[in-house]
Amino acid sequence: MDYGRRVAIVGAGKTAFGAFADQDLRSLAVAAGRKALANARMEPGAIEAFYLGNFAGPEFTAQNHLAPWISTSLGMAGIPSTRFEAACASSGAAFSQAFMGVASGIYDAVLVVGVEKMTCQPTARVTEILAGAGDGDTEVRVGSTFPSLFAMIARRHMHDFGTTREHLASVAVKNHENGALNPDAQMRKVITLEQAMNARPIAEPLNLYDCSLISDGAAAVVLCAADRARDFSDKPVQVKGVSQASDFVALDRKKDITTFPALRTAAQKAYEMAGVTAKDIEFAELHDCFTIAEIVAMEDLGFVERGRGGFFSLEGGTRREGAMPINASGGLKSKGHPVGATGVGQLCDIIQQLRCEAGDRQLKRHSLGLAQNLGGSGATCVVTILGRD
């Protein structure tokens, strides 16, 4: 299969993730966009198209028509500017489209920004807005929340495979351990297994420490044709594979909720495109919106056998020194989860490792990394494989 021109990432930049009362959606997006452009030593005028990943800007901030609102603030008036919405996989989806724009030969250089401003709303309202990524006709109307959908996945996974509360807690403990070393993380706090197991319940069997955070933040990358990459960066990163797939929005439409078929499809295609298998991947950033999601993802990606994710996690296999380091950044759990920024944020974390710029979190093996971005309870999934030039 012909995947078009080879594409490289020549610039990456993100804001810290956290609660920033003095920053609005646009100022966050602009800050990340400028960082990525500076990292690529590129002027705004060199960018030919702008791709924005954002889940619910209009609901959180009442501003719509976000893409040109931001691109013009970055000094890019005139170029096509479009927002992509795919729940928590919004910026993964934007990145996937941006990749195609360059691979097809239509554009030589494009900018992708992911952003979300969430902390301007109270928690109950945030829960309501996030529930909008579920099926309003079936699950949301009865009182399902996002934690409750993943709680039901966890319950069934525990029933079918013997996954335990301790397994779930081990994911949170490991991600907090990594996040504590990340200067850009929202919650830089080490937690114990006991704390993670005994926190207050959110949706049983998930408790506070199984859930990712409510965050503000933005992340950006500059893509260009690989043959021009060295003009812009001494450390360009190759996009080896990227694939997006979809599934039912409602959890109850799925035959087996302990696996994400869209993730499996996207992974298979991304591996094929990159010419690699799961065994070749050296480290990964997985979408741990809830601890159970990291466990299911590592199984669907083929890092471990089905049903073994929790066991592998408790044994330490996913720690920085483990056989398959997962979320060395701290993950959504500790780093923060500004939903529209998460997909591109994960890419920035992979790029940092590939470029050997991850400081205390730098992994020993860092030449081929994978990012997995999930929307809703699995209705959208984007898998991206990045490698060193």
Partner: protein, 68 residues
Amino acid sequence: MRTGAVYTETVVHLAPTKFAADVPYQVAIVDLDDGERLTARIAGERVAIGDPVIETESHEAIPFFQKS
């Protein structure tokens, strides 16, 4: 009344504004005897995976089931 068995369930402790007064409440995905699958609220006693359930009255078009 429809009948079925619990495929999975959860007890919700943090709810959107609309349901905040109901917490904690149980939500389940029910495998109906006719082969369909449905997300519903559980009334009364808590249920676990595999428990047989029967539909009770609906409130505001929300299907409610209870242990049978």
